[in-house]
């Protein structure tokens, strides 16, 4: 019988049906970081437990790392405490840690793929909601909380409810200047921020087939912003080409055997879906958010809606958003003055994202009133970008070139907004206070749009940005 990838991965990892009807699901890769694990290790310790599969557990440090001065001990005592706790826990339990001296440290969802740890057909868990990113490889990846981190440490398993599968098909060519980020923002705008609850999103169609792995990661990364805890793309030749030769990927003959198994895990033709949504790629335009959740967005040539124009159920949310953002109904997005530009985060801080941003700013300079920073997703991305000279392009344009980490996406390190600042951001959440100032404001968009806004000092349409050498249409 034809089956979806979700079903096949589920069946391959199901240990048993628990008395309450949930599935006990084996987790093939447990990624951990400093913020959501110290309490989990303490709970494990209090129960006299041990990490069941230390060799299936991999750690890095990303949320709290300063991106400018990374000397130890960190200036922030609490950050230093968290770093030390992770080091201690990894030592005690024999867990591999990619720390600042490893050359591979970075955002957990960037380093898993680039090290070849993330592979098709796997189950993956991590105490972070953007774990959905790894679904780009055809893995089923769950964001979990700290008690569940404890469960996975102790048993390498999760107790979990089955998921429905929604097929999201994107067809046609993306216009130049339109990116995977715009596609996922459009999907969330259409299906809503809670539309995906209880579902895995399976992304497909010729537009997704043509996307690079970096782009597929951007797509899957923000599944959770649409309420879907899991998002995935079926593995194909693009996936295999990305993985070939990576440190933790199978090598030699084993790689060929792995490709055969990975292919067999892809959804079958005629697989049953709970529902399907189809989008026309050609209709998608560069998209920016104007509100306080990632579903509150419009195209760059659009304007801020009025509470009167939206369905009754959304009226209060729109009014609340306008009040917080200080925007007036009907105000065009283009021309909105920004204070900060941030290229970074697990959504958009991979090498291709940096290249697209650099392409827009080359030979130009950041507007005088804008503070602009680039935070590469990992030390590997940073080094690769430096080999291409991107660091010079950014520095010459007036961007700060930083060390790798989560940085201003959630502001658990010194990088944060001040007061009512407005930030053009390539990150994933525009929640109230998300970027560190309780009244700070975030506008989500693609890295190219952030770069263009940094130069202009206000929101501009990257497609019209004079002289910008635009990315390929896909």
């Amino acid at each position: 019988m034809p089956a979806t990838l979700l079903q096949k991965v589920w069946d391959a990892h199901a240990v048993r049906r628990l008395p309450n009807g949930q599935t006990q699901l084996f987790i093939g890769l447990h990624l951990i970081h400093e913020v959501t694990t110290p309490q989990a290790f303490d709970m494990l310790r209090a129960r006299g437990g041990r990490v069941a599969f230390p060799d299936r557990t991999v750690a890095t440090v990303d949320h709290i790392v300063p991106t400018r001065d990374q000397r130890r001990p960190f200036a922030d005592v609490m950050a230093e405490d968290m770093m030390s706790a992770l080091e201690r826990n990894c030592r005690e339990h024999g867990i591999r840690l990619f720390d600042l001296s490893s050359g591979h440290q970075g955002i957990v969802h960037v380093i898993g793929p680039e090290l070849g740890l993330t592979q098709p057909g796997m189950t993956i868990a991590c105490g972070d909601s953007h774990t959905s990113t790894h679904g780009a490889f055809g893995a089923i990846a769950f964001g979990i909380g700290t008690s569940q981190v404890r469960d996975v440490l102790a048993s390498q398993c999760l107790a979990i409810d089955p998921l429905k599968v929604r097929r999201i098909t994107v067809r046609g060519r993306l216009q130049p200047g339109v990116y995977a980020k715009d596609v996922i923002l459009e999907i969330i705008r259409r299906l809503g921020v809670k539309g995906g609850v209880g579902h895995a999103y399976e992304y497909g169609g010729d537009t997704v087939d043509r996307m690079s792995m970096d782009e597929r990661m951007t797509l899957c990364n923000m599944s959770i912003e649409g309420g879907a805890r899991v998002g995935y793309v079926n593995p194909d030749a693009t996936t295999f080409a990305y993985l070939r030769g990576r440190q933790f990927a199978p090598q030699g003959e084993a790689f060929e055997a792995a490709c055969a198994w990975w292919s067999s895990m892809a959804s079958d033709r005629g697989a049953p879906y709970d529902d399907e949504v189809v989008l026309d790629a050609a209709e998608i335009r560069p998209t920016v958010t104007w509100g306080i959740n990632p579903g509150q967005s419009t195209s760059i040539d659009g304007s801020v809606p009025s509470p009167a124009d939206v369905p009754a159920a959304d009226r209060d949310s729109v009014a609340e958003a306008l009040d917080f953002m200080g925007f007036a109904a009907g105000q065009p997005l283009k021309g909105t003055r920004i204070d900060v530009a941030f290229v970074g985060s697990c959504t958009n801080a991979r090498l291709s994202d940096l290249r697209e941003a650099a392409r827009v700013i080359r030979g130009r300079h950041v507007a005088a009133h804008v503070k602009a920073l680039v935070v590469p997703g990992s030390q590997t991305v940073r080094a690769a970008a430096e080999r291409e000279g991107l660091d010079r392009v950014f520095a010459d344009a007036g961007f700060e070139w930083r060390g790798a980490g989560c940085s201003m996406c959630l502001a658990m390190n010194p990088d944060r907004l001040e007061g009512r600042q407005i930030c053009a951001s390539s990150s994933n959440r525009n929640f109230k206070g998300r970027q560190g100032s309780p009244t700070g404001r975030t506008l989500l968009m693609s890295p190219a749009m952030v770069a263009a806004a940094a130069i202009a000092g206000e929101l501009v349409d990257v497609r019209e940005f004079v002289g910008a050498e635009l990315a390929y249409g896909r």
Binding site: G121, S147, A411
Partner: protein, 202 residues
Amino acid sequence: MAGSRIRERSGTAVPLRGDNIDTDRIIPARYLKAITFEGLEAHLFEDDRQQANARARDSHPLSNPAYAGAAILLVDANFGCGSSREHAPQAIQRRGIRAIVGQSFSEIFFGNAVALGLPCVTVPEATADALMQIAERNPRALFALDLEALRLTVDGQSFEVALSPAARQSFLEGSWDATGLLLDRFDEVRRVAERLPYIAGF
């Protein structure tokens, strides 16, 4: 260690209106910079409260003394969306909330709450509004949530509530702390692991 049986939760209720209240609002990220969950309750909804209270004194429901000691939190739709931080239900529970009643919950938040023995039950929009109105009119109204019968009783009225069968059973049996259960048949876990080609070798 499995946790205690949870059959009912009762007490006064605090109404918190608004859809899509994310975990960054429930507990701002700056308070995640700690290696324990202790003291999180002091910062529950800190920024939302400050902003509401700056407009009108004690206007945020969680700052309003009339709702002090509430055991039930009433919310709207998609409560707890966003970040997976367990710090959010931890802060709510440490503040004394013993159950949450709302239109819908984010999946990760719901799972985290189950793992803490904090039931989150759902009701239709009209019921959510009716319950909030009751608590707004009378902050001392006593709500009684029965997880066995899946009913919420207040003011002589009884409302149907929904809870996934798995979560309901976990609460009623006291098996909501899953670690022990997951370790029960560890030989089966090993067998599954050994069958997986990416562990056994391709």
